[in-house]
């Protein structure tokens, strides 16, 4: 197939030192300054091969999937299934049946809430999450708890942003029906011990869902090794398109769960009296999917593999060390989140300067960061801050961008002194 051969032809080793050249966005300026993009945790940039895979679909074989007998539809179907396979490989799922395309991490978590949650969790049952969850792993469970009169329990964290494992262990009970935990905190960068968290939950037969939105672009995720029951992630946090993501689920869990949304593609046969649902993974994929998004995300998975997680981890840890040193040296700056195991995220507050003023000053200096509560309001409350400024780095980040950030922050200090 023409489409497939194009997809696979690109999968060769890529040097991390020069990968930045693959990202067209870095040639642009912002307010007359070179762009320093330090907001990859919000959305990572997209390399040219991903864009090409995305537009190839639209320019050469745009058609619906799993339906037509014509060549374009067959090519589209093959490309989308190849993307599923690339995602399977990236996270080491057992089979493609365990990889369900969703619109993103939020959608994936909602899928688990609406299916596993609504069928298995009832009055007085308990769901355990942590203090550092993103709203996407709080709100669905809060909604479910309100609906079912279930109890939401929250694992405390230390001041430096580490989960209290002793407290967690003591919270597990006969009423616990699910543990939902973020793999890597988007606000603090903390990498949580998800394997140990899963092991402890499984010792009581409690399933575990991992919010992996911030993990897959930074580190090797092996869902079989972690042994989690569910793992959710998003395309646009791993150099792919927006509006696409996956839910990984163990086949034994997924096959027991009722369908999520009803419609085309998720059925084998339909009459007005009866519906026969399709097999995995299609049971959970009602309606025409985000085909180009899936193809783009699959390509992004291949791109990451071509660079290699060892190279990514090594470079990002260096960047993290460099940024931490540089920022710590600024007067009145305090880093929020100092766990020993961190991904390349540095959140901070500054004496007398509100994060939104910092954000504006940095923007005018060409530096893109995120300011605010980062969709983690309960975490902000726990840490006693209203908002932080967050610089988040990725495999394409250069030290010069951190220098540009540091210089812009010095300017903010000057203005507000």
């Amino acid at each position: 197939m023409a489409a497939l051969s194009t997809l696979k032809a690109q999968t060769r080793s890529i040097d991390i030192a020069t990968c930045r050249d693959d990202f067209p966005v870095f040639s642009r300026e912002v307010h007359g300054k070179p762009l320093a993009y330090l907001d990859s945790a919000a959305s990572s940039q997209m390399p040219e091969p991903v864009m090409r895979a995305y537009t190839d679909y639209h320019s050469r074989y745009h058609a619906n999937v799993h339906r037509g007998v014509h060549l374009l539809s067959q090519e589209a179907t093959e490309a989308m299934e190849a993307a599923r396979e690339s995602m399977r490989e990236l996270i080491n799922a057992r089979s493609g049946k365990e990889v369900i395309f969703t619109s993103g991490t939020t959608d994936a978590i909602n899928l688990v809430m609406q299916t596993y949650g609504r069928s298995q969790i009832g009055e007085g049952d308990e769901i355990i999450i942590s203090t550092m969850e993103h709203h996407s792993n709080i709100v669905p469970w809060r909604m479910l708890c309100d609906e079912k009169k279930a109890v939401l329990k929250v694992i405390p964290i230390s001041d430096d942003g580490v989960i209290d494992m002793e407290a967690y262990e003591s919270m597990l009970s006969d009423r616990t029906r699910l543990v939902g935990i973020v793999h890597v905190s988007n606000t603090l960068g903390t990498i949580n011990p998800v394997k140990e968290i899963t092991r402890l939950a499984h010792s009581r037969d409690i399933p575990v869902l991992i919010d992996g939105a911030q993990a897959v672009s930074h580190m090797k995720v092996d869902v079989q090794d972690i042994d989690c029951d569910f793992f959710a992630t998003s395309g646009h946090k791993m150099f792919g398109p927006t509006g696409i993501g996956i839910l990984y689920g163990k086949e034994e869990m997924l096959s027991k769960m009722p369908p999520y949304r009803g419609g085309g593609d998720m059925i084998i046969s339909v009459s007005f009296d009866e519906v026969l649902f399709n097999d995995l993974p299609y049971k959970f994929e009602a309606g025409t999917p985000n085909i180009s998004g899936a193809i783009g995300m699959g390509k992004a998975a291949e791109y990451i593999q071509a660079i290699g997680y060892d190279a990514i981890r090594h470079k990002e840890q260096e960047l993290l060390k460099y940024a931490t040193e540089k920022l710590s040296a600024i007067d009145g700056l305090r880093i929020i989140g100092t766990a020993p195991e961190k991904s390349s995220v540095v959140s901070f507050v500054m004496d007398g300067i509100h994060p939104h003023d910092i954000g504006t000053i940095l923007d005018l200096e060409g530096v893109a960061v995120r300011t605010g509560h980062h969709c983690t309001q309960p975490l902000m409350d726990r840490l006693g801050v209203v908002a932080t400024t967050r610089a988040s780095m990725a495999m394409y980040t250069r030290k010069e961008e951190i220098d540009q950030l540091t210089a812009a922050l010095q300017k903010a200090v000057e203005i507000f002194k």
């Binding site: 007398g352 300067i353 509100h354 939104h356 003023d357 954000g359 005018l364 209203v386 203005i415 507000f416």
Partner: protein, 151 residues
């Protein structure tokens, strides 16, 4: 410093941010309202006393947020004190139009005076809400609404 930055973060604004005027709770206020911007957590409470002629005899505020929102609140209380509610309503609309780029304070007729320093916000769409939060809140307090949100 580049032009946009120096235009926005003028000394006047920085001074009002550091030492906000009328920054206190008004005990037994006739009306009060809470303004909240959930996006950035900016939160201000505005208190007003209004006499029988609909003159705002006193206006104060408390709360926290960015420099733009705090300076805006501070300057607003200075300018609103002693004015008729209709005048304040007119200023509220002029200010709103200015930060949204619909009114040019240098060429269009207006009564904005010192408030002109917030004109630079029109180039920063993400910050418009910071500048108008306290004005929305004052407007709500005058009209007797207890809560207002800029989201």
């Amino acid at each position: 410093m580049n032009d946009k930055m120096s235009q926005l973060y003028q000394q006047v604004l920085l001074d009002h941010n550091k030492t906000p005027r009328n920054y206190r709770e008004l005990e037994n206020a006739d009306q009060e309202s809470l303004g909240y911007n959930p996006l950035c957590g900016d939160k201000y409470k505005v208190f007003v006393n209004i006499d029988e002629q609909d003159i705002v005899t006193d206006v104060t505020f408390i709360g926290d947020g960015c420099a733009i929102s705090k300076a805006s609140a501070s300057m607003m209380t200075n300018i609103a004190k002693g004015k008729h509610v209709d005048e304040i309503d007119s200023l509220y609309h002029q200010f709103h139009d200015m930060v949204r780029g619909k009114l040019d304070p240098d060429t269009d007729p207006n009564d904005l005076g010192h408030l002109k320093i917030f004109a630079g916000v029109r180039d920063l769409p993400a910050r418009v809400k910071c500048a108008v939060l306290s004005w929305h809140t004052l407007n709500a307090a005058i009209k007797g609404k207890e809560k207002v949100s800029t989201e």
